[in-house]
C-alpha cells in the first residue's frame, strides 16, 4: 500500500469528533421531529352528560384525521358515552354550566328545573346540527372509521355494574395498566 492510498483510506474512513457531533445533532433533530410521542393522543372521557361527550370525541377524531394514533379511555361517569342507549337518552346539564349561552338569561336554579334540561338538550343538538357539526352518533362512527381506539375502563364497569353487552360495538375492555402504557408514550394527554 502506498502512503497516498493509505492517506485516502484514512481520509475516507475516519471522522473527527466535530464530524460525529454534527451527525449526532442532525439525527437528533430528525428523531425529535418524528418522535413517536408527538404522534399519539390519549384522551380520558370522565363525564357522562351530552355536552361533555362532545369534547373527547371531537378532539380524538380531529387527532386521528391529522394522522395521529388516538385513543379515548372511557372511565368514571364517561363510561356512559359508549353505552348502547347513550346517544338517544343523554341530557345536557345546564346546571353547573351557567356559561352556556341561552336565548334569554336565566338563573341557575331555573335551569335546574326538569323541563329546562330537555330545552337545553334540544337547543344544543339543534345548534350542532345547524352548524354542520356532527351529531353524537356520527362522531362515534367517525372515531371508529378513523381507527380511534375506544377503551372502556373495566374497573368502572364493575363499580357501576355494567356488563360487556351494555356497550356499543368496537369498544375494547381495558384496565388502568393498558391505559397508562399508552398515555406515558404520548405527548398529548387530556382528562376531559
Amino acid at each position: 500500500m502506498t502512503d497516498d492510498a493509505l492517506v485516502a483510506a484514512v481520509g475516507a474512513g475516519s471522522l473527527t469528533e466535530a464530524d460525529v457531533r454534527r451527525i449526532v445533532s442532525e439525527e437528533l433533530a430528525r428523531a425529535l421531529r418524528t418522535d413517536p410521542a408527538s404522534k399519539r393522543a390519549v384522551i380520558i372521557a370522565s363525564k357522562g352528560t351530552l355536552d361533555w361527550a362532545y369534547p373527547p370525541l371531537i378532539l380524538a377524531s380531529a387527532a386521528a384525521a391529522s394522522n395521529m394514533e388516538a385513543s379515548i379511555f372511557f372511565t368514571f361517569y364517561g363510561l356512559n358515552i359508549v353505552r348502547r342507549d347513550f346517544a338517544a337518552t343523554a341530557m345536557v346539564s345546564p346546571t353547573g354550566n351557567p356559561a352556556m349561552p341561552m336565548p334569554v338569561p336565566m338563573a341557575d336554579l331555573f335551569t335546574g328545573l326538569p323541563g329546562m334540561r330537555s330545552v337545553a338538550t334540544a337547543m344544543m343538538k339543534s345548534r350542532f346540527k345547524k352548524k354542520g357539526v356532527a351529531g353524537l352518533q356520527e362522531l362515534i362512527d367517525a372515531c371508529r372509521e378513523l381507527g380511534v381506539h375506544l377503551m372502556a375502563c373495566t374497573m368502572t364497569m364493575e363499580v357501576f355494574g355494567f356488563s360487556p353487552d351494555d356497550f356499543i360495538d368496537g369498544v375494547e375492555l381495558t384496565g388502568a395498566g393498558a391505559f397508562l402504557s399508552q398515555a406515558r408514550r404520548a405527548h398529548l394527554t387530556l382528562f376531559v
Copy 2:
C-alpha cells in the same frame, strides 16, 4: 509522509465506536434537557364560569413567566372567557362545587338559589383581591404581556353564533388543526 505523521493523523482523526457512543450519549442528554417539548404548555379552557376561568389563566401565565411558550385554546363554554363582557358579568357556580369553602355550611340546593350565586361571586372576587392574587382582567392582561397565545376555537364560535368582534383584542381565531399541531409538540397539555 512519515509513519509518525501518518499515525498522528490517524490518531487525531479516527474515533472508536466507544468514543462515538460516548459522544452520542452526551449529546442526547443535552438534547433531552433542552427538548423543545419541555418548553411548551398548551392549555384548553373549556369551562365558562368565573371560578373555572382562573386555572387556565394562572397556569398559562405561570408557564410563560417560567420562560415556557404557553398557549390557551378557548373552546366550548370556555370561549366565553375571552368575550369582551366576560370579566364584568361572569358568575361563580357554587352548585356543583360544594367543596368551595363557605362562611357557613350550606346545602347544595341552597347554593343553587339565584341570590347565592352573587354572594359566591362576590366572595371569590374579594378573596382573590385580598390575597394579592390578580383579578380576571389583570390575569388576561398578564397573559398578553407575557406573550401567551390566546386562541379562540372557530368551530365553537360558529356553533354558538359568536362573531370575531365579540372577543377581546389579541385573540387569534384558530381551528382544531392549529391547536393539535402545537399540543402534539408539548409535554404539558391540560384540559381545564
Copy 3:
C-alpha cells in the same frame, strides 16, 4: 510500523459516517424507550367533591404501581382532598353529574335536594366498597406508601385561608413553579 499494522490500526479505530449514523440511531432508539418523560405522571386535582377525589388518587397510585414517578398537585377546590377532615365529610355532588347511574331515574332538580346528596354519597361509598375498590382513606394511604408526591398549592392555601396544620401528614407545600418544573418533564399530565 508496517503498513499492515497501520491498516489494522486504522481499521480498528476509524468509523465511516454510515457506521456513526447506525450507532446514533441505535442509541436514540434506546434513549427514547427509556425517555425519563415517559416515566413521570403529574396530575392536578382541582375539584373538591368526594366523587372527583377518586380519579386523581386512582390514576396516581396506578402510575406509581407501574414504576412511574407520580405527583398530585392539589389546587383550587381540590386542596380539600388533603384536608384532615375530608374523607369523613366529603359529599358526592349528583347535581351536574346526571350521568351517575341511580337506582331509579330522577330529575336533576330532585338530585339537588339536600337529602339526595347523602343518598348519593352513601351509594357511591358502598359501591366502591362492595367492588373491592379502595375507599378514599385507603387510596390516600396507598399513594403515600407507593411514594406518590402529594403537593399542596400554597397560593390556593392563602386564598382560602388554610394553614399547614389543616392538611394530612406527608403533604408538601409547593408553589406553581415547583409544579411546572415537574410537569414540563412528564409525558402524562392531567388536569382533573
